[in-house]
Symmetry: C2
């Protein structure tokens, strides 16, 4: 029996009773529906012991259930042992959704409690609909966890960074004006911005309240004349005060936002994005004003990088690529000679990045997977749990950094010794796909769906697929996963398809993942550019930012088309030219060999 | 001045006055919103003199206007000269739509007249909405043209053909049951089927009331127990009577359908497809019963060919391909020696087809375009207007037949002599695209959008596009254009995207169209098949039905990848093997040379 968890659930039930709550719901989110959340928000993990990144806990007097998705079934089973919590395997046949479960189990007139600040509007509305008939009372202002979690950490709070306008390309005033134009088009007078990276983008500031994501916990409330920024007092710096004064931004404490939205004298409609606005704020706004639900206007503006940002990124990607080159050289030279593990290799690479001028943070925890570990797409080696590398097989390293000047994301799969012919074929096919997509020419109007088959085709020809998209957008000194652009062959519900606009950046990362055997992923970041325009339309192409050799030890030229070989040789020629200045003599010698021209 | 047309418009205005109609609207459609219509339905052409395939005439006391699309602006300008009819260029800036025009010009309480049987529901509803404020009265039961058009031809009326069930793979009873299952799923008790090819498919009958489309004017009204077929008495044969008796199909005269729908005792909801149901019937149904608008259940069933149909099609495509092979041989041998024109060449090919056992009709009027005429996608040479072919340039021939056993559609562009390097490059790129798409492997779930770039890519790489889809479905002894499947890179409003299902057939016809210079199109028909199924999903591929050489005189191997050359050689090897048995000695010798292996 897991006494710790049982005690916590029991304590929660006690507080529920005191508060007249029959069912209590704990999702995994912060107040902004961010992709990654700080430990302060890991209430579900504290209460259930389940550490996966996705899961929702529902507790009633008699039962406790945890919903999670297929990635985590095995892990959740293990972690929930002895807790008395039932695992609900999402999307499996016969397993009710949370809404269905509540609708079936709750009795008429009962009370459902949750912290409405960590439930997004869309989910809250779904619950409303499902529980309407049972006349369930929503006690959505109940953060009961706070009463149970004795040693709960503080909310993260770090001073924000005000970016030099010279590296932003646009002032906060210009950005706010652009947003206001969209607000006007939508017939709205105000906008509540809850999405952290959108706020950071609009105001040219950065934070460090979420690991690897340079964002500060905040809200922005923009009207045609005013801008209100809600941010913890401990984050406010002199630079921020100066910016605020310069652009007429009114600073408020982060925790004042609820009262502000409740007491504000609204005139006209309020724009909000239900994907990121909490249910609690949706309720407040709906009570006080007419609302318009739509995509944050900042989303697409942020996705299309301006010329200044693109110039900065080009520089940053060169330096970041150089670090990866140096890492590969070091790894190939030393493997089998000194002890290197998945974990220590990642540490070495992280160290190389940290020495790059302008380095702020990693853009995500480095993935370093050896042999069959690489078949797990989101594997993370730890100090206590890792493989030792030897002069055989392959190491997949997916990594990136946050710098003043850009956010990077790059994957290389490094051949450490003998690999089978089958693995070589897979490696070559992934390379072919990655380079064919890089080399695509297409008409304006295409989305990632039109192009995905270029990357995936060489694998599909071999009856192999990878169970994820081919590419995602990347932030500018912001989150490594950024929408709305992407490259994937199909879109599940809620995903959106976006026309690829010039200036958007996108990753290109096909892969092969054979469970228990090997994993291969090769990833570059590319920028979408305008090409020739003629009577047939505006042609487009990709400009690659990443310059790291693709391991020729994994390549079998005999299965490549002449075009594939040309593309690889051209890429390697550019890698050599661009990386040579960063290499020492030894490294340069290796680089020359690593980027040599190949033939059939 | 065009006295004939002026008189007709004047006569119409007279009848309008008698009937209290202020504005009269004449679209281009039959009662079933068919793609092609019989001369009986060409009222707009009779009244305006404009012969294009798309156009709507609006006449008021003071003005007459004709709306048509970009394909026809020049033609319409010429044909409308001296008629007093104003041309409205659809989609051009500042040009009102018909609904906008009526909303602006009609006075409150006026009457808009039209024949509600030739206006589809969607357009009728749009007019309702646009004219609501002006309280316009809709006199939709007015076929005023009938009173003006003195020598109007009779409705086409030909005896129907009852297909041998052995070539259908399913009996009419089985098909009706399948349709009823979908009706039940939708919670409906009855279905009004207006789309002609869907009715033909369900009842395993064919007609010849529309040129090149083996359909009979008819309606079907299906309930859970009954099936009512409305068809002109002159079309009813003994075989049809026997089928009707066997499957309990009640035969009614075609013209009784309106009274039937008005007087029927409905129980439960009625299913209809607003894309093909006339506004008049929509009004009748809406008054009498609760209706459900949805895609005809027959559409997808008809699109997925069964094993028997596919076997028949394989045979028919071989014979049809052989006719095209013989034609190409004849053309290449004789061009420049005897006089051959675009028109006589088409006649010769049509003649070869007509000699194939089971031949019923062409599947569309043969397109035969020489040199720059081929750049017009839907060019039709006539007895009076055609080019003479010489031993230079290229002839594009797009053609097909209707046979007992299938409907064909094939395009080849035949090199008759010298062509420029640029044209050769275009020819080769079109060939590469066609064969790359043919060779695609993809996962179940893909639509034509995922695959289009395979065919279009070699052209996009050269900054060239073709302004149409890459492929469409083909009927089985039915219309040569059949939905819902298709291959195109983007979908405009109203088009639908359909997952490619095993058994669907689709054309593959990339092209290059350079105005005033040349046109190239190469088209095969393919069937979608299931390939390997594994944990990554169900892989799919295409099986080609068409076997006609691609003119090697147009091919420049130096710009092809090894894979392109391999695909072309493999295809030609199969062409030779499959066509050889159909060729005489001379032809076989030519075929061998025409399908020879090429190298770089």
């Amino acid at each position: 029996m897991n006494q710790v968890i049982c005690d916590r659930i029991a304590a929660l039930r006690g507080v529920m009773k005191e508060n007249g709550v029959d069912y209590y719901l704990v999702p995994t989110a912060d107040f902004h529906n961010s992709e990654y959340v700080d430990v302060y928000f890991k209430v579900r993990e504290y209460l259930s012991g389940f550490t996966g990144s996705n899961g929702t806990l529902v507790v009633s007097e008699k039962e406790a259930g945890l919903w999670t998705d297929g990635r985590y079934f095995i892990q959740a089973e293990n972690e929930l042992k002895g807790t008395g919590i039932t695992l609900f395997r999402m999307l499996e046949e016969g397993v009710p959704t949370i809404a269905e479960y509540l609708a079936e189990n709750m009795e008429k007139g009962q009370t459902l409690g949750f912290d409405g600040r960590v439930v997004d509007t869309a989910f809250g509305k779904k619950l409303e609909k499902a529980l309407e008939e049972k006349e369930i009372h929503f006690a959505y202002k109940k953060d009961l966890a706070d009463k149970v979690w004795g040693d709960r950490p503080e909310l993260p709070c770090h001073p924000v960074l005000v970016l030099d306008e010279e590296i932003c390309g646009q002032t906060a005033a210009e950005k706010m004006d652009a947003v206001r134009r969209v607000m006007a088009e939508k017939g709205t007078q105000a906008l509540l911005l809850s999405k952290l990276d959108d706020i950071m983008w609009m105001l040219n500031i950065r934070g460090c309240d979420v690991e690897c994501n340079p964002v500060a916990l905040s809200y922005a409330f923009l009207t045609m004349e005013e801008c209100h920024l809600f941010i913890q007092n401990g984050e406010v710096t002199d630079a921020l005060k100066q910016t605020a004064e310069k652009y007429g931004i009114v600073l408020h404490d982060y925790h004042e936002v609820t009262d502000f939205l409740t007491d504000y004298s609204y005139s006209g409609k309020v724009f909000y994005d239900s994907r990121y606005t909490s249910y609690a704020f949706y309720k407040t706004l709906s009570e006080k004003a007419e609302t318009v639900d739509g995509k944050n206007p900042t989303e697409k503006m942020k996705a299309i990088k301006n010329e200044v940002e693109l110039a900065q990124m080009k520089e940053v990607y060169l330096k970041d690529s150089a670090a990866v080159c140096k890492f590969i050289y070091w790894l190939k030279k030393n493997v089998g000679k000194t002890e290197i593990t998945e974990f220590s290799a990642a540490q070495y690479l992280d160290h190389l990045r940290s020495e790059i001028p302008g380095y702020l943070d990693l853009s995500f925890p480095t993935i370093s997977g050896y042999k069959e570990n690489a078949a797990m797409m989101h594997y993370e080696a730890t100090q206590d749990n890792h493989k030792v590398l030897g002069p055989e097989g392959m190491l997949l390293v997916d990594s990136g950094g946050q710098y003043i000047g850009g956010t990077t994301d790059v994957t290389r799969t490094i051949v450490l010794g003998e690999i089978s012919d089958e693995i070589k074929e897979h490696y070559t096919a992934v390379t072919m796909g990655m380079l064919r997509l890089s080399d695509a020419k297409f008409l304006y109007g295409c989305t990632g769906r039109n192009l995905d088959i270029l990357a995936r085709g060489p694998l599909w020809e071999r009856n192999i697929d990878y169970k994820c998209g081919t590419g995602h957008g990347v932030g500018y000194i912001l989150n490594v996963h950024e929408g709305p652009q992407g490259i994937r062959w199909r879109f599940s519900e809620g995903m959106e398809e976006t026309v690829l606009e010039p200036g958007m950046d996108v990753t290109n990362e096909p892969g092969v993942y054979i469970e228990g055997s090997h994993g291969i992923r090769i990833e570059n970041v590319m920028v979408i550019k305008n090409g020739v325009k003629n009577t047939d339309g505006q042609f487009m192409y990709f400009d690659t930012l990443t310059f790291v050799p693709i391991d020729l030890d994994g390549i079998d030229p005999s299965i490549m088309e002449a075009g594939d070989i040309r593309r690889l040789n051209n890429y390697h020629k550019e890698v050599y030219e661009k990386m040579f200045p960063f290499m020492n003599e030894e490294e340069a010698q290796w680089l020359k060999e690593a980027t040599r021209e190949i033939t059939r």
